[in-house]
């Protein structure tokens, strides 16, 4: 039996940091704010490490003694679960989270909202760790909504800027659509299983292996909708590029490394449901593959350094869903981890570039930065090699695992694999394009005094660069078997390990070679277009105006949604809800009630004349009425009435 691990401390420490900095931050000295903000994630990270070392049996459950919801047969507790899956995720969240906190100290140094920024970051870590540790779907949903809130707050961090405030709202509203799916999925789970506990659902399903499809498909698809919202998959990816309005470390932490991967994590967490529904798995794989290539093509023509990375994130998330869809959950989590390393690195490096250039994000105005920012250049190069999947960087291993798993899947695996391969080529192309445009060549605009960032920013960059280089080595050959107790020994992941280095499985080597060749081809194309012949891209764009326009305008998806969903919704809101319902029905009812009261008051107020004599007269009249009532022998009078009546009727 494992000793008490105090898992509850992992989320609660950042929450304490949020409370301190959120309530008192603006009055505390900056040094204290920094200390609190950095200690919270560091302590969390230490707790995770301690838990990892102390736990000797997985999964380890920890349930709050106080019940949360007790309604009839449904019992929901605050329960935390630590297993291989949540442990990996926690290490990524708190580890990368801590590095980004450190980086933020330098990046946000001269910002007025320093304390507010860090309190939000801590709040995010709180909710993210709740999400990861949650032992049931409802607690996960709490974390899920909470990270959405933190994301909203941080995207709209520069809320004076309209575009930032709008981007925050867009992210929140689009996520709401996904959350709707998650909620419906949960209701169905309660209805079908009577529990939301992941472990119990897994046991129930494992006890009935014959149970396939049907309502399980519906549940899985609902959950997938939630995951697509959070992880920016088609058709709900539109919020992520706009989310780049937030500070760059936020983009690194929330919109690249951790929060957006929550959808992948959720699918892996509920994988038993997906395993019982081949159709849902097919949908996940298709959505992932289409998103991967779709976003990659958009990234090719973006000129904002952060937007390139944003679309690249969407594309890489598509990879992870592709892996989930072919039931290679461990490959998905592996890629999630390496992606967290290299994408956080790339974002932070981009932040360093933007910081050095005083806020310039346009790639076309950069160039030649490698001489002025040698460290940033070096770490970016590592990140780009990693994301492009060049051997032996981290991205190579995870991407290779995904492509291999896709290749072996039946019956559409080959198509998925091919899409993934093309995406890998595109990924290498747009990343090296960024590389050439930002760092190589000659400066394309006066850059003034460009200086390398402070050490608080350089440190995390170097550590992440190291992880992007070596992060894949820890996972190769053993990641699948390590995660197997959590996500099951699915598909090909366990068999994909090379049996003997001297006698490798031929297919795997061939596929890896193809993947590397695709990446190198992408590099070559980028080299050809952006180094040797910088005029080529513009010329190509001029030759293919339709295609170029389509890509630059991101396939007009935003415009499409605007016309098909937003505009009609606004029209309905204005004409039906505002005019008919609000002003007409609700306002009318209110006016009617008020009118009745006013009308009655107008009549009754004559009674309350304020005239003493009228009151006295009413009093006297009342007394007279009482006298009349008491003195007149009503019984006799009434008894005689029918007689009179009858007498009249008799005539």
């Amino acid at each position: 039996m494992t000793a008490d691990l105090h898992l509850w401390l992992i989320p609660l420490l950042p929450f304490a940091g949020f409370l301190i900095n959120g309530i008192q931050g603006s009055r505390l000295p900056k040094r204290t704010v920094t200390t609190v903000a950095l200690l919270a994630p560091l302590a969390s990270f230490s707790m995770v490490l301690y838990a990892a070392a102390a736990a000797n049996s997985f999964p380890y459950d920890e349930t709050c003694p106080l019940p949360w919801i007790n309604a009839g047969l449904l019992h929901i507790d605050f329960s935390f679960v630590l297993d291989q899956l949540s442990l990996v995720m926690l290490l990524v969240v708190t580890g990368v989270g801590f590095l980004i906190h450190v980086y933020s100290v330098g990046y946000m140094d001269d910002d007025k909202g320093y304390a507010r920024y860090f309190s939000y970051l801590n709040l995010f870590l709180f909710f993210m760790t709740v999400l990861v540790l949650a032992g049931n779907a409802l607690l996960m949903f709490v974390g899920w909504e909470g990270v959405g809130l933190a994301s909203y707050l941080l995207i709209g961090f520069y809320f004076q800027k309209k575009s930032a405030a709008d981007a925050g709202k867009k992210a929140f509203i689009v996520n709401r659509i996904g959350d709707f799916g998650f909620l419906i999925g949960m209701f169905l789970l309660v209805d079908k299983f009577g529990t939301l506990n992941f472990g119990e659902i897994g046991d129930l399903l494992n006890a009935n292996p014959a149970w396939q499809g049907g309502v399980l498909t519906v549940i899985a698809l609902c959950l997938m909708l939630g995951a697509a919202g959070k992880s920016a998959q088609l058709p709900l990816y539109i919020w992520l590029p706009d989310a780049m309005e937030g500070p760059t470390p936020v983009s690194a932490l929330i919109h690249a490394a951790t929060m957006v991967t929550a959808g992948v994590y959720m699918v892996a967490r509920t994988h038993v449901l997906f395993d019982h529904s081949p159709f849902a798995l097919g949908v996940v794989a298709t959505v992932g593959a289409i998103t991967a290539i779709f976003a990659a093509t958009i990234a090719v023509v973006q000129n904002d350094i952060k937007r390139v990375l944003a679309y690249s994130t969407i594309s890489q998330l598509g990879y992870m869903f592709l892996a989930c869809g072919v039931a290679a959950y461990s490959a998905a989590i592996f890629h999630l981890m390496t992606h967290a390393f290299f994408k956080a690195l790339l974002f932070l490096a981009a932040g360093s570039v933007i910081h050095s250039l005083g806020g310039e994000q346009d790639l076309r105005k950069m160039g030649g930065l490698w001489r002025k920012l040698p460290i940033t250049f070096a770490v970016t190069t590592v990140g780009i090699l990693a994301i492009a999947g060049i051997f032996p960087f981290a991205g190579f291993y995870s991407k290779d695992a995904i492509l291999y798993a896709a290749f072996l899947q039946q019956p559409y695996g080959k198509i998925l694999w091919f899409v993934g391969l093309v995406t890998a080529l595109l990924t290498a192309f747009y990343m090296f394009r960024l590389w050439y445009m930002a760092f190589l060549g000659e400066p394309r605009s006066p850059q003034g005094h460009v200086h390398e960032c402070p050490w608080s920013m350089r440190g995390p960059l170097l550590i992440l660069a190291f992880l992007s280089l070596c992060g894949g080595w820890i996972g190769v050959l053993r990641f699948g078997s390590y995660l197997a107790p959590s996500v099951g020994a699915h598909g090909t992941e366990t068999t994909s390990s090379v049996l003997s280095p001297l006698f490798p499985l031929p297919w795997e080597i061939i596929l890896s070679t193809l993947a590397i060749l695709a990446a190198l081809e992408g590099w070559l194309i980028a080299d050809k277009y952006y180094r040797r012949n910088p005029a080529r891209p513009a010329q190509l764009a001029a030759d293919l105006p339709t295609g170029y326009k389509l890509l630059v305008n991101k396939y007009y998806i935003d415009e499409f949604y605007n016309a098909v969903i937003v505009k009609p919704l606004l029209a309905i809101s204005k004409y039906v809800l505002e005019w008919v319902v609000d002003i007409g029905l609700l306002g009318g009812a209110a006016w009617l009630l008020g009118g009745i009261a006013t009308f009655a008051g107008a009549i009754l107020q004559r009674w309350q004349s304020g005239n003493l004599r009228s009151y006295a007269a009413w009093l006297a009249a009342g007394a007279a009425a009482v006298l009349l009532f008491l003195l007149v022998p009503w019984a006799t009078v009434l008894a005689s009435l029918p007689a009179i009546h009858l007498g009249i009727a008799g005539h």
Binding site: G610, N611, L612, A616, A617
Partner: protein, 107 residues
């Protein structure tokens, strides 16, 4: 000699007088404009009631009714003191004692 002076006055006459006094008070209260007259009408009503109290006390040979009359007189005296003070205050504030013009709580 069976004159009016030697004969005992019947009780009903007292009650009738009491009712007349009370009604005069009510009518005075209702039709008079001057606050002081209104006040006097109230006294008239009280005294009309007092008379009926005394009458019934005499009829039933009970002293309770007479004691009640003393209470009423005492309260009426106190009421007169307070009431007149209020009337003076009202006159100072509004320079009128016409009840139909004093129809608002606030000044």
């Amino acid at each position: 000699m069976n004159s009016l002076l030697t004969q005992e006055v019947p009780l009903s006459w007292y009650l009738l007088l009491s009712a007349i006094l009370f009604s005069l008070g009510v009518v005075g209260f209702l039709i008079k404009r001057n606050l002081i007259t209104v006040f006097m009408s109230i006294e008239l009503m009280l005294n009309g009631v007092n008379l009926s109290f005394v009458t019934f006390a005499h009829q039933w040979h009970a002293v309770k009714g007479q004691i009640f009359v003393f209470f009423v007189m005492m309260v009426a005296a106190a009421e007169a003191a307070v009431g007149l003070a209020i009337i003076i205050a009202v006159f100072r504030a509004r320079t009128t004692l016409a009840v139909d013009r004093i129809d608002r709580m606030k000044l």
